[in-house]
């Protein structure tokens, strides 16, 4: 080297040092494991303890849920005898047969069986409506649709599902295939505007599909149930509470004292009252205020209450984002002569909402799970359906399978939302920072 002695004060580097690879064990899989799992005595103990817990619990859970489970049976007692027969007396196994038998009910409640294609089509259209909002282009729809149609064709040909290949010509599959084809040819970012127009029209389409009218046979609200009801309340609540929450948050910031007071009063009142109370108000009290004879749909009343409830929380989350914006951003927008609406839409909200994404999604997830509270006022959401199912003499005594399945479905939705929000944060961050 260049003779840098400790006592040499003056020093000039005589060339560039070469870039060397890191020493072995500092990077790669082994490096990662050492760094994250065995970096110290405490970490090592915790790692080993965790492995032990998983090793102890996992076989039992897998045994119960998969290896010793029963899918074909018509009652709980039949399940038990099958398990006792195949695995020996006293063995525990899941009786998924209840899910199999009541699957349609858990999905649709008491929606008339011959009309269930309508919620199915609505669900496909929901995906089509959401895709352009969540993503820059909707090409993925084409791939997804093609995969599902292909799977269905295979299953039909193999005779796994009823109807054979003829099942491919059901309304849902046709709509799915059409949407996929459109997405394939016109799914690029340039056409996003048209897809968004469809998103805007979707609520109306969905309303007529689900409740009927316009030549479709009407279906009463009392027949709605299961995850159909969860989706209706959850999706409407999410879609409506965000804009309402934004308005409330902006109103709370307003210098106009009247608007400010109304927004603060609304937010504080709604946040101070349990959702169940609001739901009871929706189900019973609200009728006293209506002129006699008016029939204000119960699901609609619940939708309003859930939306109001979520929007109050949403407003506070967004207020946090607004407050986190430097004052200079508002001033720069003002100084350029942007109107209030323009500066909010173009400058303030894009940034404030981005900051608030974790909180917004948190509220969405909370709302989605809170939809189960409607069981308390007698609506038959999946949790509400557990009572009639468990009261059936065939399934009397079943607990884990039913609640486990419902929990699993909720988890899938909520986890999906959570992953999407992380994806979105990453995408938005990638643009701006170095």
């Amino acid at each position: 080297m260049s003779g840098t002695h400790a006592h040499t004060v003056a020093f000039v580097a005589d060339g560039k040092l070469p870039d060397l690879p890191p020493p072995p064990g500092a990077s790669g899989a082994i490096g990662w494991i050492r760094e994250n799992l065995f970096s110290g005595p405490l970490n090592t103990i915790l790692t080993l303890a965790s492995i032990a817990v998983v090793a102890l619990a996992l076989p039992g859970v897998l045994d119960w849920a998969l290896f010793k489970s029963v899918w074909n049976a018509s009652s709980l007692s039949e399940c038990r005898s099958i398990i006792a027969e195949s695995f020996g007396e006293g063995q525990g196994g899941a009786c998924w047969a209840v899910i199999r038998e009541r699957f349609d009910q858990l999905l649709y409640g008491f929606y008339p069986a011959e009309l269930r294609w309508r919620p199915n089509v609505a669900f496909v259209l929901l995906i089509v409506a959401i895709a352009p909002i969540l993503f820059d282009n909707v090409r993925a729809l084409a791939v997804g649709a093609a995969a599902i149609v292909a799977l269905k064709a295979l299953a039909g040909a193999a005779g796994v599902v009823d109807g054979g290949v003829g099942g491919l010509f059901g309304a849902t599959t046709v709509v799915l295939a059409a949407a996929g084809a459109l997405a394939w040819f016109f799914g690029g970012g340039a056409h996003r505007r048209y897809w968004l127009m469809f998103s805007a029209a979707f609520p109306v389409i969905a309303y007529f599909l689900l409740w009927g009218g316009l030549g479709l046979e009407p279906v009463a609200s009392s027949r709605f149930g299961g995850f159909l009801l969860t989706m209706i309340i959850g999706v409407t609540g999410i879609a409506a509470s965000l804009p309402l929450g934004i308005l409330l948050a902006l109103g709370r910031q307003s210098k106009l004292i009247f608007i400010h007071a109304i927004c603060v009063g609304f937010i504080e009142f709604i946040r101070g009252v349990p959702l169940i109370t609001l739901l009871f108000v929706a189900s019973t009290l609200l009728n006293y205020f209506m002129p006699p004879g008016t029939n204000f749909d119960l699901i609609l009343r619940v939708l309003i209450m859930v939306t109001l409830f979520a929007s109050a929380y949403m407003a506070e989350v967004i207020r946090g984002g607004l407050a986190a914006l430097p004052k200079g951003q508002y001033e720069a927008a003002d100084a350029m002569g942007l109107t209030y609406a323009q500066s909010m839409r173009l400058i303030v909200l894009p940034q404030a909402l981005k900051i608030s994404i974790p909180g917004i999604v948190n509220t969405f997830i909370g709302l989605f799970k809170d939809t189960t509270l409607v069981a308390v006022i007698g609506l038959l959401d999946p949790l509400g359906l557990t009572n009639p199912i468990r009261a059936d003499s065939n399934w009397n005594g079943i607990v884990w399978e039913l609640y486990g399945f419902i929990a699993f479905c909720f988890f899938l939705f909520c986890f999906g939302m959570s992953r999407y929000s992380m994806h979105l944060e990453g995408r938005l961050r990638a643009g701006e920072r170095r």
């Binding site: 001033e331 350029m336 701006e432």
Partner: protein, 267 residues
């Protein structure tokens, strides 16, 4: 502190051929007063700025310099007196306020670029939405001004990817894209490292050479000496002294000015 400013000025001779002060009035403040609650920040400000004037405002911290220029485009509201910009009197009429803001560009100490928009989008946003210029045309104008502040190659980056000096030059270009008649600067260089101060001052000198009306709060005395045609000294909410730069620096009249200058110039 003023060394970089002098350096900037020494780099090239200033072309004064377009620096003409016209008789037309650009900004007029008459008996203007402002209070923050009980606190009297601005006291009886009278100031007339003609088109083409380059005015430097200086004074100790807290003297009300920022507040003064922020009143001119209504980022702060004044409570007494009149402010007239380009013949339009500032009242609480929102239309008038927007009209004035369109004519007045502002550059802030902390740039205040919009971090979620690219440099080009930062520059085209206001022309498109406020002046209703077609997008293509707005982009051409923006590129023109980005070239003038010598960073056209950064047009598609985000502000976070630029150095402080580059960001401030973008902020100047952004203000120019609105084709303002008056430019306000609030300590445009005081958040910058010395080597970046020069590039921003250079840009501002270029602007002055083209005859832009400028009100500039700054402590860059080299810039004031070379570019300003009037220097205003403020203290405790008052205009204490104003004069041509030569006289102002060589023969300050008030004791407060003398004290301030001795502190800032380090004599």
């Amino acid at each position: 502190m003023n060394a970089p400013a002098d350096a900037a000025v020494q780099d090239r001779a200033i072309d004064r051929s377009n620096m003409k002060v016209s008789d037309e009035i650009a900004v007029e403040l008459v008996g203007m007063n402002k209070w923050y609650g009980e606190f009297h920040v601005l006291k009886d400000i009278n100031l007339t700025v003609n088109k083409g004037e380059r005015i430097v405002i200086c004074g100790p911290s807290g003297s009300g310099k920022s507040t003064l220029i922020r009143c001119i485009n209504r980022l702060e509201e004044h409570q007494k007196g009149r402010i007239i910009v380009d013949g339009i009197e500032l009242t609480s009429d929102l239309k008038k306020i927007d009209e004035i803001r369109r004519e007045v560009g502002m550059v802030f100490q902390h740039f205040n670029l919009f971090p979620h928009l690219t440099i080009l989008e930062n520059c085209t946003l206001a022309p498109i939405w406020v002046r209703k210029v077609p997008k293509r045309e707005a982009e051409q104008t923006a590129m023109h001004f980005l070239e003038r502040v010598r960073i056209p190659e950064q047009a598609n980056k985000y502000p976070g990817q630029l150095s402080g000096g580059q960001q401030q030059r973008v902020a100047i270009a952004r203000a120019l894209c609105m084709r303002p008649n008056v430019m306000l600067f609030d300590e445009p260089t005081s958040a910058l490292d010395p080597e970046m101060i020069k590039e921003v001052l250079d840009t501002m000198i270029g602007l002055a050479e083209e005859g832009m009306t400028m009100l500039c709060v700054t402590h860059e005395m080299g810039f004031a000496r070379q570019v300003a045609n009037r220097v205003i000294f403020m203290d405790r909410g008052q205009i204490v002294e104003q004069n041509e730069p030569e006289e102002f620096f060589n023969n300050p009249r008030s004791d407060r000015t003398k004290l301030f200058l001795s502190q800032i110039l380090g004599h």
